[in-house]
Point group: C2
Chain length 146, copies 2
């Protein structure tokens, strides 16, 4: 009796690409990478295996609510990597990973205050990176300078 499923070639392959892609990728990215490596795989299979991968703690959905590819969900490989959150530049889309213990501690504190046992969190800081701030309002996003 297997715990979560059978160990198939496809799953091994998915494990590999998720690890290889690491940063922030979409299901489509996985397929493309696999295809480039010679392993053809149907999107269906990828989609069907994503829950298993996330459930197993191999990857997790990033909170960039569909900004990356064409509205596709983005994931990142987390297994064996230290936890981190993200800073996102609104202008250039640059993503910076950071981790800050004090922040985590405070989050625990908040959860405790509300009677919650904290399991995980999604934190995304949105701002303007130094380069873009210096570069001036070149790629002005909002339009309204407020």
């Amino acid at each position: 009796m297997n715990e979560g499923g059978r160990l198939t070639g496809d799953r091994e392959a998915l494990l590999q690409v998720s690890c290889m892609l690491g940063a922030h990728f979409t299901p489509e990215d996985m397929r493309r990478t696999l295809a480039a490596g010679g392993s053809q795989m149907a999107m269906t299979t990828i989609y069907r295996n994503l829950p298993a991968l996330t459930g197993a703690g191999i990857i997790r959905r990033t909170t960039f609510c569909e900004e990356d590819d064409n509205g596709a969900a983005t994931y990142e490989h987390v297994w064996g990597r230290p936890h981190h959150d993200h800073l996102l530049c609104q202008r250039c889309g640059k993503k910076v990973e950071f981790s800050y213990d004090a922040l985590e501690v405070l989050q625990e504190e908040v959860a405790r205050r509300h009677g919650f046992r904290l399991l995980s969190h999604h934190l995304e800081l949105i701002g303007v990176c130094l380069d873009c701030a210096r570069g001036g309002p070149a790629g002005e996003t909002g339009g309204a300078p407020t």
Copy 2:
């Protein structure tokens, strides 16, 4: 020369419902509420006006990555309301709003350290609320205890 568009009845109506619904609603919720109030409105119109509303700071997209309705984006009314973040119970789906200044301060700090000018953030704490913790492992969700 108008700044952002014309003031139409539909937009006023959307303003109202967003304010009325307040908490966490989907575009579909807006349509349904409007319909209940006698104002028929096409989804197209709602979708086309959402960017205007968010751009104007009336509403914002919540970060619950499509969990609410059937995968639809959720929004909340923020104009004139104090900023807050969310605690989400993984079992019962309960959403608790909170705000914690120290947390905001630390986020500013993180951004500064990385040379970012912070504009906004999304923070969502995921855990198990007191009720569900007491209620026992009734609706066990994850399975893998990490």
